[in-house]
Subunit: 219 residues, 3 copies
């Protein structure tokens, strides 16, 4: 599914962990929206694989990785079943889920950027696709569930900025020809730590300047 | 648009029937949402062709079939016009439309799975794409109309399970090297009959276990 | 991003103008929905590039142009920043923005149709993709912002019909082998003028016939 920064078995394991936790967030939203077992599994699949599918479509890597690798497809189903049977327990360890989600964010922004670069895209486009890989599934999850994408809401802790930093680090490392397992891990950890700090300290991004409250709706 | 299970003129005719009835459901939703003639035609197109387009993009079959075959594109426009002029009559024969929709579901899950297999996807991925072919257009219809996708709602009769069964039968038949017009038809009819039974007896899928009503919103 | 009707530097300049004004409309909606700087930039990107990305995916032109050309990607970010700092001023020149948007509509329906034709699509499919190029980004903008797509609303001035006329003119010109910079410009201007007239005179498309108010919801 992604460029070989890491040895392929390490890569595969990391991918599956990231996919699993992204799928949990999809499944939990489905439960909150009162969906049935099938809705839970669909939202789990979409959340976990949506970003990578969008990236692969844009770069023309078809058939897309999410449908070529059985593990990538089955893992979200397992997450869906876990949520189906154990959702109160999963909700209770919400902090652990958020931490794993931040790990997934860090991992996918790095591997997504590297894969886009491998397919010949320039640095800026590769960074953009790294962010799409890391955040696209969550946007699709929210749209399908009828929610304003949390990525776009001002009242959520920043999610895209950590991904942007991780992706930009990979672009710089690639330009310097020094993207290795060690430096790639450092980039992923940087994104991870930024996201955790954002959650801890409630970092938010600014809204438009000179706001005139009467012209805007508080959604 | 699809793998040649059937002689190509039979296939084409079946495809057009399925596309027409899917388009009717899109057009009717557009009328209920008070859209104009153009909105009716757009929703008819999206509902009828969306699933096949998603499948073709994922497997890399471009230009996608829906845009390579004039009949596939024009048929939803005809359905849109029928709805525009005759929507009360079409609503009145809702049961007939649901029956035809179930036929479309059966047909597309079978042909979608077969086409995905032809493009080299494994059995599980092909089944998933068969389901995407059969249900993706309806999801896009609901998202565009600002509705929670009926595929994901617990209070709707099961729609995905019949498609899953039909697609899985095709995967098994393919593995046994015995997918023919006869067996493919049998798989499509199985999905069709399951859907009709679900409608007749109100079959629904279970929601998550140990539900705590106070934590969930009834949408 | 588009077929070479015009000399490539002229084409590029026109594309960037169209992308910039489409991005402004995305950014302004993001401000109205109270999104932060990042949401503004995402909606600007999606609105400006979404239609072209959809077209490129359907015809199999990957990596898609929006990610191969740095200018196409950076321009919406600039528009996002303009909106972030100056949105009251941009709102105030709404009429100018609508005029530029109509120019973008005319341009993209023409270049989108021409590019689809270059990739071997038939006349009807090329016209459809021309309309997708011109209107797809706006639909994605509205879906992400949780709004019913204005393209589909009966209470908005017609937007798709001018695009349809411009795209159809290109298809006719192509069939007659007389698509040049001059005739292409004429087609784009026709679409532009139709859109401006629709805005000036409040042209709307008809809703379904024999409407029965009690069966429909006014959304």
């Amino acid at each position: 599914m992604t460029s070989q920064i890491f040895p392929s078995d390490v890569q595969q394991s990391l991918d599956l962990v990231g996919i699993f936790v992204f799928a949990l967030s999809g499944g939990l939203l489905a439960v909150r929206k009162n969906m049935d077992i099938f809705g839970i599994c669909v939202l789990a699949e979409v959340t976990a694989l949506g970003g990578g599918v969008m990236r692969d479509l844009v770069i023309g890597a078809t058939p897309v990785a999410a449908f070529s690798n059985l593990g990538y497809f089955v893992t979200p189903l397992l997450a869906g079943l876990v949520v189906f049977f154990l959702h109160p327990e999963v909700e209770r360890i919400n902090r652990a889920v958020q931490t794993l989600d931040a790990l997934g964010l860090g991992l996918f922004c790095v591997t997504g950027t590297a894969k886009a670069h491998d397919y010949g895209l320039g640095a800026v486009a590769a960074v953009a696709l790294g962010m799409v890989t890391a955040t696209g599934g969550g946007v699709m999850r929210d749209v399908l569930a009828g929610e304003l994408p949390s990525l776009l809401r001002w009242d959520r802790e920043i999610y895209a900025v950590p991904a942007l930093v991780g992706a930009a680090l990979v672009a710089v490392l690639t330009a310097l020809d020094s993207l290795t397992a060690a430096t790639g891990t450092a980039a992923a950890l940087t994104a991870f730590i930024l996201r955790m700090l954002a959650l801890k300290y409630g970092w938010r991004a600014p809204r438009a300047w000179h706001r005139n409250g009467s012209r805007t709706s508080e959604e």
